[in-house]
């Protein structure tokens, strides 16, 4: 069985597991309307944390300590460039043609002048980097977020973004590289590069959170709402 088929089956299983947990919901409720399956979510959060502590974080720390900044920037820019096409497609699906054109422009500029995406030259000439995915596209189309759910391996999502995630994985250009070794190397490097960028955040979250699970959950929900509105959400700030 090929690696990509196995990966698809794994993703499918995770999603089926997640959906059944959602249906079983209610029973683990602790009263937060945004997090009806908190019991399940806390268990999955614990699993993801354990995996991170044991395998991902130590490697990310090594990566961060050993490599000089320009190399780390190059790696992060490279994956960002691959993402820009995908971001452009989502902007197009959201009816933002001009923004989509700018994303594709970024890809063309950075793939050439930016030497295969290693340098983000496009930002320097005023083509701003955007952040889009299928979950945001669904949100733009008017689909509500649904309950919070922690997906094994992938981390915080809501129901809408879990469905979006399935499409994100399917549309991920890196996952479609046919040379298995090159693809796996790239997938692992991307996880490590992303994780390394988050290392300083760990300590601050430790300092900030009474309950780390809830702090990350509420941050995620706020962030996604903000992204769906492209940074201009209707104000939710009442006084008491």
């Amino acid at each position: 069985m090929s690696n990509s088929v196995m990966k698809r089956i794994l993703v499918l299983r995770i999603l089926v597991l997640t959906c059944s947990a959602l249906l079983l919901g209610g029973c683990a409720s602790s009263g937060n309307p945004k997090d009806p399956i908190e019991g399940f979510n806390r268990a999955m959060y614990g699993f993801n944390e354990a995996l991170d502590t044991a395998a991902i974080k130590p490697v990310a720390k090594g990566y961060d300590a050993i490599l000089p900044s320009p190399i780390k920037s190059g790696v992060s820019n490279f994956f960002g460039n691959v993402d820009d096409v995908f971001i452009g497609v989502n902007n197009l699906l959201q009816g933002k043609g001009i923004t989509a054109a700018s994303d594709l422009g970024r890809f063309v500029v950075n793939s050439t002048v930016g030497i295969f995406g290693l340098f983000d030259f496009a930002s320097k000439i005023g083509l701003e980097k955007h952040d889009e995915d299928f979950g945001q596209t669904f949100g733009r189309w008017g689909i509500g977020p649904g309950a919070y759910v922690v997906v094994p391996f992938f981390g915080p999502r809501n129901v809408r973004d879990t469905v979006g995630l399935a499409l994100d994985v399917k549309a991920d250009p890196v996952a479609h590289i046919t040379k298995v070794r090159a693809r796996n190397t790239l997938l692992v490097t991307r996880v490590i590069s992303d994780r390394a960028q988050m290392l300083p955040a760990d300590k601050v979250i430790e300092a900030a959170a009474l309950d780390k699970y809830a702090y990350i959950r509420d941050g995620y929900l706020q962030r996604r709402r903000n992204l769906v509105y492209d940074g201009e959400p209707p104000r939710e700030k009442e006084n008491f």
Binding site: D131, F154, V204, A207, A214
Partner: protein, 223 residues
């Protein structure tokens, strides 16, 4: 897209934003001047001055949390309205609390926020701040000042300050990092603490948290 993808996109922003929150500083402004200083100028002045201090301070850069806390307490605190921040975080339960309980809540929340912000300051690298154009209508008393954190190799991160005009001058009552309000983010946690143990339960949880991080600060700062 990959492991923890979305979490990763949001959390570095949170962290970096926290660093720059510390950028607030009394600086050269006397209280009399502060009253007249426009909100955007206030943010600009204090951000520049605190970052200058951090850039020169090797202790803070190498993780001296105690020293960072002292800087925040001396320079940043006067520009925040902690009572308003605590109200926003405690939300509907605020009215349940007695005046005495409200005072304790504000004190403990202030300690927690200062610890967090100063921790973020010790993580400062070489980011710079870009100040967005600011417009204010005459007579406005509630404004949003937008800034952006620029760093090489990563998407810029929005860092927005909400300020209100009080008799003592403009005061910050909320900060949003990449669209995440650092104050509103506590609502879920606070609500569930109140549900479990009432207002006193929330106070106890905050005190326990502050006590445990006090230990960490002391340990970290000792030679």
């Amino acid at each position: 897209m990959n492991l923890k993808g979305n979490l990763m996109k949001s959390l570095p922003g949170l962290m970096l934003g926290l660093m720059f929150v510390l950028g607030l500083n009394v600086g050269i402004l006397t209280p009399a001047h502060a009253e007249e200083t426009a909100p955007d100028l206030l943010i600009k002045n204090v951000t520049s001055e605190v970052l200058d201090i951090v850039r020169k301070d090797k202790d803070i850069q190498s993780g001296n949390h105690r020293k960072a806390i002292d800087l925040v307490e001396a320079k940043v605190l006067p520009h925040f309205n902690f009572t308003h921040m605590t109200q926003l975080a405690v939300a509907l339960n605020w009215k349940q609390a007695s005046a005495a309980q409200q005072k304790v809540l504000v004190d403990e929340f202030r300690t927690l926020l200062v610890r967090t912000y100063s921790k973020a300051l010790t993580e400062y690298k070489n980011q710079t701040i870009d100040f967005k154009p600011f417009k204010m209508q005459a007579g406005e008393t509630d404004v949003k000042v937008r800034t952006q954190i620029e760093q090489s190799g990563a998407k810029p991160i929005g860092l927005d300050y909400y300020l209100e005009k009080l008799p003592q001058g403009w005061k910050v009552y909320d900060i949003e990092v990449a669209g995440v309000s650092l104050v509103i983010n506590y609502r879920g946690e606070f609500t569930s603490e109140v549900r479990k143990g009432g207002i006193d339960g929330l106070i106890a949880a905050l005190q326990a948290k502050n006590k445990s991080s006090e230990g960490a600060v002391a340990k970290k700062s000792s030679p």
